[in-house]
């Protein structure tokens, strides 16, 4: 059995310290009965691991989520270069019109650019909500938080974004109280957590990052996206499927950036059970945002892999 009482590095997504708990939360957390968001099978597996649920813990952060930063809707019409120069660094790539003429319709410049201000706001929201959940768990004297669920959603019709974390704080049965460290956390619960520990990985923290890449299409990208190449653009006329270079590169960049951000949070540990979500949103014609979210469990190897028993082949009757 691994020692799950050990405190870990103050890990997890960066964020400011949390505020005060509401009165109702304090009352609930002081109650004798535990609460847990675990399903019964996960609850059983958790007891089997020697973990005792203490309380359902949660954290929130509501962020105003306007697209008012550089590159937002009302800044359309500015040269992408003006945006790039004020864009605060990060990935960017420019595209130049090959046709050599200027008109109001014709987009002579195009650019892919990372939107660090969006990423920073996301990190703040996610990190604050996480820190608040961990604060609840710390108050409970928990060793860790399992079965973490995070949701990022829009609040009513206010256009604000809400970050919401839920998890079940657990104590190690008969373990020493945590020595002032930060409780560990994991998205896993139940048998998946058991297997991960059996395989030699101790949970450290959930990690996640957002990469946001804005695509300002230039003329070639626009024509390709509309399937108009071949309508008489001289040497560029062609038919059949063709790579839309600018958009492909933006997609790759978004994924690479998300991985890079997460790697920076790992500090030498490993990432397991990662999921990647990509959402694209068209803000206007030829103006698109690619948001890529990567979530996973930061784990640390504490023992060699211990092979599980060979599975028994089964056939389900009916």
């Amino acid at each position: 059995m691994t020692d799950l009482t050990g405190s870990v590095d103050p890990a997890g997504p960066p964020g400011p310290a949390a505020g005060d708990l509401p009165e109702a939360a304090v009352r609930r957390l002081q109650s004798d009965a535990f609460s847990s968001g675990l399903t019964v099978p996960d609850f059983a597996a958790c007891l089997d691991l020697g973990l005792e649920p203490v309380a359902l813990v949660q954290g929130f952060c509501v962020m105003q989520w306007g697209w008012y930063g550089p590159g937002s809707g009302y800044m359309r019409g500015m040269s992408p270069y003006a945006v790039a120069s004020g864009g605060g660094g990060g990935y960017s790539e420019t595209y130049r019109c090959p046709h050599g003429f200027v008109s109001a319709e014709h987009r002579t410049w195009g650019q892919n650019l990372e939107q660090p201000w969006v990423e920073a706001a996301w990190t703040q929201g996610y990190g604050s909500a996480y820190a608040r959940m961990i604060e609840e768990a710390t108050d409970m004297g928990a060793h860790g938080v399992i079965g973490v669920v995070d949701r990022v959603g829009t609040l009513a019709d206010t256009g604000n974004t809400e970050f919401h974390f839920l998890g079940t704080a657990v104590k190690v049965d008969g373990g020493q109280p945590p020595a002032g460290g930060v409780p560990w956390s994991t998205y896993l619960a139940g048998q998946r957590l058991t297997k991960s520990i059996e395989a030699g990985f101790m949970p450290v923290a959930v990690v996640a990052s957002l990469a946001s890449v804005r695509v300002w299409a230039y003329c070639m990208t626009e024509y390709l996206m509309e399937g108009q190449v071949g309508m008489g653009w001289g040497g560029y006329a062609s038919s059949g499927p063709q790579l839309v270079d600018q958009v492909s590169k933006a997609h790759m960049a978004a994924r690479q950036l998300a991985r890079k951000h997460v790697r920076e949070q790992l500090v030498g540990d490993e990432l397991h059970g990662a999921t990647i979500d990509v959402a694209t949103r068209e803000l206007a014609q030829g103006d698109e945002v690619i948001d890529c979210t990567l979530r996973g469990n930061r784990v640390r190897r504490f023992k060699d892999f211990d092979p599980i028993a060979a599975p028994r082949p089964t056939v389900r009757l009916g």
Binding site: A33, F34, S35, A121, I308, R312, P313
Partner: protein, 273 residues
């Protein structure tokens, strides 16, 4: 703020319809109805219980309206109380049916809310599940002397029993909350930034905590040692997007032997498709 506590909120209902009484009488003669699947039925049997019959309770409740301040996040305590009382009534009637049958508990409880065209501002709350009785002759009635209720499936019920816990009751807490509209001046003031809105954060936090702490209070009344499978549901019902009901639901459990008799899981590989 007063919490809608079960004592205050739940009228005693001893008013089963005639047809229900007739159906229950037939059930007592050994013919049982149940909405358990075959597997669930087997596992409930395996856990040492046999099904007595399908039981239900309902309540059609008029949900009034409550004035709210446009720009302020606040709990709508009248609506909270209505939503709570209506569900509790439906549950109590279902428990009553189960009591008629001499059941120890009700498993697979589902709580639904239905809206009908004819019912302006009113909603039907129904609770239904399968009443079960222990085969070992022991009483499994909860701390209040009533049959336990739980929304666990047959599979979950079996697993829970193996962990040395017995269900005590389906516990819930609710909070209907109005989310403030932002004034234009506020929105303009922070335009150009992505910033945290601490008022919203606190409001949502409080709303969910109120629901959860009320659920916890119910578990306390049952002398439960804990609540498993807590779910947080958020619905706007028919109030528009700024009014949200936060509903916390879970099964309160008590530790019995403290002995986990669950065998170690075997890894399998399926040879089916």
């Amino acid at each position: 703020m007063t919490d809608p506590t079960p004592e205050a909120a739940v009228p005693v209902a001893r008013d089963l319809p005639k047809d229900a009484a007739h159906r229950l009488e037939e059930l007592e003669h050994g013919l049982f109805t149940s909405d358990l699947s075959v597997n669930e039925f087997l596992l409930v049997k395996e856990a040492g219980f046999h099904p007595l019959g399908f039981v239900m309770g309902s309540s059609i409740y008029h949900i009034g309206i409550q004035t709210r301040k446009w720009g302020e996040s606040q709990e709508l305590s009248k609506l909270t109380e209505a939503m709570y009382t209506a569900r509790e009534l439906a549950m109590t009637r279902m428990e009553e049916e189960a009591q008629e049958l001499g059941a120890d508990g009700v498993v697979g409880v589902r709580l639904d809310v239905n809206y009908y065209e004819w019912g302006n501002d009113s909603a039907e709350f129904i609770a239904f599940g399968t009443a079960v009785k222990a085969e070992d002759g022991n009483s499994y009635l909860n701390a209040l002397g009533k049959p336990f209720t739980s929304d666990l499936s047959g599979q979950d019920f079996w697993t829970l029993m193996q962990t040395g816990h017995v269900p005590q009751g389906l516990v819930m807490g609710t909070c209907v909350f109005h989310i403030a509209h932002r004034k234009l001046t506020q929105a303009l003031g922070s335009m150009g930034q992505n910033v945290e809105l601490p008022n919203f954060t606190q409001a949502l936090y409080e709303a969910r905590e109120l629901a959860m702490t009320r659920m916890q209070d119910e578990a306390g009344q049952l002398n439960a040692s804990g609540i498993v499978g807590v779910r947080l549901e958020e619905k706007s019902h028919q109030w528009g997007s700024h009014t949200i009901e936060f509903l916390a639901l879970g099964t309160a459990v008590t530790k019995t032997t403290g002995e986990v008799t669950l065998p170690k899981p075997t890894t399998i590989i399926s040879l089916d498709n």
